[in-house]
């Protein structure tokens, strides 16, 4: 009973916060809604007994969202003074949301303790679930059966990295701290100075 209740709570909140992600006018708010969506998705994962994926969702996605947050703040033209002014006003709201998240976590874990949701019998042709913990099972197939895909996914990430560097890296002309000592030593007076015998009253042409 409690699992079903928890399921509907998490599911409704995932959808509601996902809607808010695209409805919020302030980009920073959307990012916060995104975090809430991930938390609730993690709650759903806990309910079906996929605790490893739940942990990944929280650690990786919420971590990634922190980075995303940084990017949003860096790239968009956001008035920080205004944001800070809102901080005190929004502080109680923030506390409430934090409390809700904490309550949800406790509720979710409590629901999980009461036994996970039974999703029905697996009917497909996939290999049967091992009688081991999530982490052990994923590790067992990831580095054996899916070695090829694992490596390929690594390449995809490498491409993303190369792309980011190629598209953003610029060679600054000159630049600081580039003292070419050989060039300085090789410099000789004949190239650096010009001797002129100017005629009086006619000026100099260099």
């Amino acid at each position: 009973m409690i699992q079903t209740l928890a399921f509907y709570l998490f599911a409704a909140l995932v959808i509601a916060s996902a809607v808010m992600v695209i409805m919020a006018r302030n980009p920073v708010h959307s990012v916060l809604w995104l975090i809430l969506a991930f938390f609730n998705a993690a709650g759903l994962m806990v309910l079906v007994g996929a605790e490893f994926i739940a942990a990944l969702l929280v650690i990786v996605y919420v971590g990634a969202v922190a980075v995303l947050f940084l990017f949003v703040v860096m790239m968009l033209d956001i008035d920080f003074a205004e944001l800070r002014a809102g901080f005190v006003k929004n502080f109680p709201l923030g506390i409430i949301i934090a409390l809700i998240l904490a309550a949800e976590l406790i509720f979710g874990i409590g629901a999980y303790q009461a036994g996970r949701i039974e999703l029905g019998v697996a009917s497909g042709a996939t290999s049967p679930i091992l009688d081991a913990s999530n982490t052990a099972s994923i590790g067992a197939v990831l580095f054996s059966d899916y070695l090829f895909l694992f490596e390929a996914a690594g390449l995809v990430l490498l491409i993303a990295m190369i792309g980011a560097i190629v598209l953003t890296h610029r060679k600054r002309p000159g630049g600081r701290g580039q003292q070419n000592i050989t060039k300085q030593v090789r410099r000789n007076p004949n190239e650096a100075t010009v001797m002129k015998q100017p005629i009086v009253g006619e000026g100099v042409e260099l």
């Binding site: 042709a125 059966d145 899916y146 090829f148 390929a152 490498l158 993303a160 190629v166």
Partner: protein
């Protein structure tokens, strides 16, 4: 399954990845200086991978398809055929690329490296027999394509093209992924054989949704009509060599992936997707032909031409027979030669200052300034229009033949009628080149590398190409038989 066999079967991908990683290190340490040598080595790696795939093609023809990594990947004749096309097209593009970028002082050694990674991804796409392999290959290829599209950082049109391609490509990936999740949910398997077996046992409406979403996403990738809007913008904005690349290798990869997807896991449910493919085919032919008429920019024109050609290739798929798949592959091979030739010719059109020319006014009267180039373009355009002595006609012929054999006479008839509309702008191209007054100064010399690529393409699409019909027919039939034999 032993790892040794699996490694051998995926040799082309592994070799290309290692080459790309090594060249990436070279690029990182030596910077732009080594761009030229990295390009040459990349071309060598791609040609090597193509030769390796030819070896696999012969081998795969003799025995049951070579499955690697527990059927995540299949090195069969079909995959090898598509890969040979992809690798050779990518190598040819690399040959004609550096001049364009060096003229703008923005060629970097990362370009060929990204091209190699792209080729790895495309190879995975065409050989995938598992939805996960398919998706990772697709992302690998798309991600490097986005970067290539915006490679000219200083040019706002190039950045715009990259951004548009990225946003719409991500949308398409999302659609595919949603379809994949539905298919997996209703079949319990991501493996093509498993999906097919599950569909044979029962095909629910939910699964149909999945199939439709996957096909729609793939239609995005091949730019078939309801999902073609990005093509002209991206093709116009991207640097010309990159546009040439988009119109050839990734198109082959996406098309081959679509063929395998439709005929292997969804092969038992032909009736449920056939009308979608027929609609996409006809709409692509008509929109491609009508949309091109008003275009002044030659890259946009070729973009519409590629939409038009995708329609013809889809007719082969609509037939849903081994002959239809073989016909689509034949058309793809000829299409690659035609498009590669057209874009190489476009790259050779520069004013004396070295700026690329890409509008109709620029090419008017080309026949008096650059007769050889004008005649080559004439052959290419006639071939694209499907005028008989040239090889482009053969592609259309086999596709329509397959459609008629599959009792899709109406489809073939409408296709033939619409290809007459398409002929209009190809002829306009020729008219402008041969009968209009020259308006622009045009650079009179082009490097031998461009001439070589152009000459090979023109030789293939010239009547000499008909010498290829028999072997091409054999190869494509073998390739098609390697996975639609069960029909």
């Amino acid at each position: 399954m032993s790892y040794a066999t699996s490694f051998y079967l995926t040799g082309a991908e592994i070799g290309l990845s290692l080459a790309a990683l090594a060249l990436l290190l070279v690029a990182a340490w030596t910077g732009t200086k080594s761009a030229r040598i990295v390009t040459i080595l990349s071309v060598a790696a791609l040609v090597g991978a193509a030769i390796f795939s030819m070896g696999l093609f012969d081998r795969a023809a003799g025995e049951v398809a070579g499955r690697a990594y527990g059927d995540l990947y299949r090195a069969d004749a079909f995959g090898s055929f598509a890969k040979i096309l992809i690798y050779l097209a990518a190598a040819a593009i690399l040959v004609v690329t550096p001049r364009f970028f060096t003229q703008r002082a923005s060629y970097r050694a990362e370009y060929p490296v990204l091209m190699l990674f792209n080729a790895v991804g495309m190879g995975m796409m065409v050989s995938a027999t598992d939805l996960m392999t398919l998706y990772i290959g697709l992302e690998m290829s798309s991600l490097s394509s986005y970067v290539l599209a915006s490679f000219l950082k200083e040019d706002s049109r190039s950045s715009e093209a990259g951004l548009k391609y990225f946003v719409l490509g991500a949308l398409a990936s999302g659609i595919i992924l949603y379809g994949v999740s539905l298919v997996y949910g209703f079949t319990g398997s991501t493996n093509y054989e498993g999906i097919r077996a599950a569909f044979d046992a029962g095909f629910s409406t939910g699964a149909l949704f999945g199939v439709v979403f996957v096909l729609a996403g793939l239609a995005f990738k091949v730019s078939a009509v309801p999902f073609h809007m990005w093509t002209p913008d991206v093709y116009e904005g991207a640097p010309t060599p990159v546009t040439a690349f988009f119109a050839t290798a990734p198109k082959v990869a996406a098309m081959a992936m679509l063929l395998r997807m439709a005929m292997d896991p969804f092969g038992g449910e032909v009736d449920s997707w056939r009308q979608i493919v027929i609609f996409a085919a006809l709409a692509s032919i008509v929109v491609g032909a009508l949309g091109a008429i008003g275009q002044q920019n030659l890259k946009r024109l070729l973009a519409y031409s590629s939409i038009n050609n995708v329609g013809f290739i889809l007719i082969g798929l609509a037939a849903a027979t081994p002959a239809g798949v073989a016909a689509s592959l034949t058309y793809l091979a000829i299409y690659v030669a035609m498009v590669l030739g057209s874009f190489t010719a476009l790259l050779m059109l520069r004013d004396p200052a070295g700026n690329n020319l890409e509008t109709f006014t620029d090419i008017s009267g080309l026949s008096t300034k650059r007769p050889a180039l004008a005649w080559a373009l004439l052959a290419l355009m006639f071939s694209l229009a499907g005028i008989p002595p040239l090889f482009g006609f053969w592609g259309k012929f086999v596709v329509f033949q397959a459609a008629v054999q599959a009792d899709l006479v109406a489809l073939a008839a409408i296709g033939i009628a619409a290809s007459v509309i398409g002929a209009f702008y190809y002829l306009k191209f020729i008219k402008v080149m041969f009968f209009d007054e020259p308006l622009r100064e045009i650079e009179t010399e082009s490097p031998a590398s461009h001439w070589a690529v152009l000459a090979i393409c023109v030789a293939i699409i010239s009547p000499l190409g008909y010498l290829l019909t028999l072997p091409l027919g054999d190869w494509t039939a073998q390739a098609a038989a390697s996975f639609v034999a069960a029909m």
